[in-house]
């Protein structure tokens, strides 16, 4: 199953690109954040050549739109809490996977300390739904508005994600007598000139302040280690920079904001 995620930055003129992204990449599970397009119009365009996609209408959350190629019966709403939405995918092969879709507070409104503190709220939701559903195979994806190295992504009381697969596969660690489960965060591998892909992030911001990272990886996907060996096909993870003939990143390495200020990401899950 191929999963695509894109924050469309509330752009009304992005329909054609969003549809082309899904079709060209053959996305099975399309998640569009900050999407103000009419879902009926998107669906019409997605199915213009052949009927392939369904619109997944959530019970409550409307901070994203989902279009899927599989039956809507296979995706079940579990919980919504603000901009945290949990769905469970019921694989025809019998496996269950929790998908936690997030759009966390922006740096415009929350400083880093606020974001770090808020990550604890998301952790609580994840722990609760894993226990409630008795399913610990969890994927968290969305616009975190944090870089992979920010404390909220790392700390035990936040996402507790690591870039080291070997460490993640230890499943948990104990700090001050309390057990904290790991997530594996593959997004680290896009950093640096020798990192994977053509760009170093999904969001570019040049600030006049003393500290500036320029490229930020706000759009991320995290995996519980149980999904690493046979489910997550890491080599397929990609930050998409081109849709059809259209380059999303201009020559001077800046994301074309006429489309969106975020780049899409995509990856595949096998054996489900």
């Amino acid at each position: 199953m191929k999963i695509g995620l894109w924050n469309l930055n509330k752009n009304k003129g992005v329909l054609e690109k969003a549809v082309l992204f899904a079709k060209e990449q053959d996305i099975d599970f399309l998640i569009l954040l900050e999407c103000i397009l009419d879902p009926a119009e998107i669906l019409l365009q997605l199915n213009s050549e052949r009927s392939a996609y369904y619109y997944y209408k959530p019970y409550v959350s409307d901070f994203f739109q989902i279009f899927i190629k599989f039956s809507t019966d296979l995706l079940v709403d579990i919980r919504d809490e603000g901009k945290i939405s949990v769905k469970q995918f019921l694989s025809p092969l019998g496996r269950k996977i929790n998908f936690v879709i997030v759009h966390l507070p922006s740096k415009l409104y929350y400083d880093e300390a606020d974001q770090d503190a808020f990550s604890n709220e998301v952790k609580k939701v994840i722990d609760e739904i894993e226990n409630q559903t008795n399913c610990f195979d969890t994927v968290v994806l969305g616009d975190f508005n944090m870089n992979p190295f920010q404390r909220g992504m790392i700390q035990t009381t936040g996402f507790h994600s690591t870039f080291d697969k070997k460490t993640a596969k230890e499943n948990f660690r104990i700090v001050q007598g309390k057990e904290y489960k790991y997530f594996y965060n593959p997004m680290w591998s896009f950093f640096g000139e020798l990192g994977r892909g053509k760009v170093h992030g999904t969001f570019f911001y040049k600030s006049p302040k003393p500290i500036c990272y320029f490229w930020n990886i706000f759009d991320q996907v995290l995996f519980r280690p149980t999904l690493l060996d046979s489910i997550f096909a890491e080599e397929t993870l990609e930050i998409v920079t081109r849709i059809g003939d259209f380059e999303l990143v201009k020559g001077n390495q800046i994301i074309d904001k006429k489309i969106s200020d975020h780049l899409p990401i995509q990856f595949e899950l096998n054996n489900i």
Partner: protein, 137 residues
């Protein structure tokens, strides 16, 4: 001379706590929904900026939709009941509340907002359909 240095606590003031108000409102919603919806008031604590607060979450649960739940609002206060902070994630609004009277007003505003009504109606319709399908009505 007595060794007890404490004053008397016999006259405990008879006040309605925000949590008891939420529990009462939870009961009203459950009854109005003919038990198609349940409400859970989850209790927790939050430590931020050197301050610890008690947090209550008003979670609406749809048992016929696989126990799907969504959080309508959170309420938090420190060891004093007021001021309290209500955050309604559904409406994307926060309220700083100073008095019990204002607390009731804000709850009424949130409960009667069209988006809240539409959301609950949506859950009720789907729960009703699911309950009829499963023959449990």
């Amino acid at each position: 001379m007595s060794n007890n240095l404490w004053p008397s606590f016999e006259n405990i003031p008879d006040i309605k706590t925000p949590k008891s108000v939420l529990l009462e409102q939870a009961m009203y919603l459950e009854n109005a929904s003919k038990n198609l919806l349940k409400v859970q008031i989850a209790t927790g604590s939050r430590a931020a900026s050197g301050k610890e607060t008690i947090v209550y979450r008003f979670n609406i649960i749809a048992p016929f939709l696989g126990n799907y739940s969504f959080s309508l609002l959170t309420l938090e206060h420190d060891i004093f009941l007021y001021p309290l902070l209500i955050t309604c994630q559904l409406l994307n609004r926060s309220y700083n509340i100073q008095t019990e009277k204002d607390f009731f007003e804000i709850l009424k505003t949130i409960f009667n907002d069209q988006k809240t009504i539409d959301t609950i109606n949506n859950l009720l319709s789907q729960s009703k359909a699911a309950s009829q399908e499963s023959g449990k009505t």
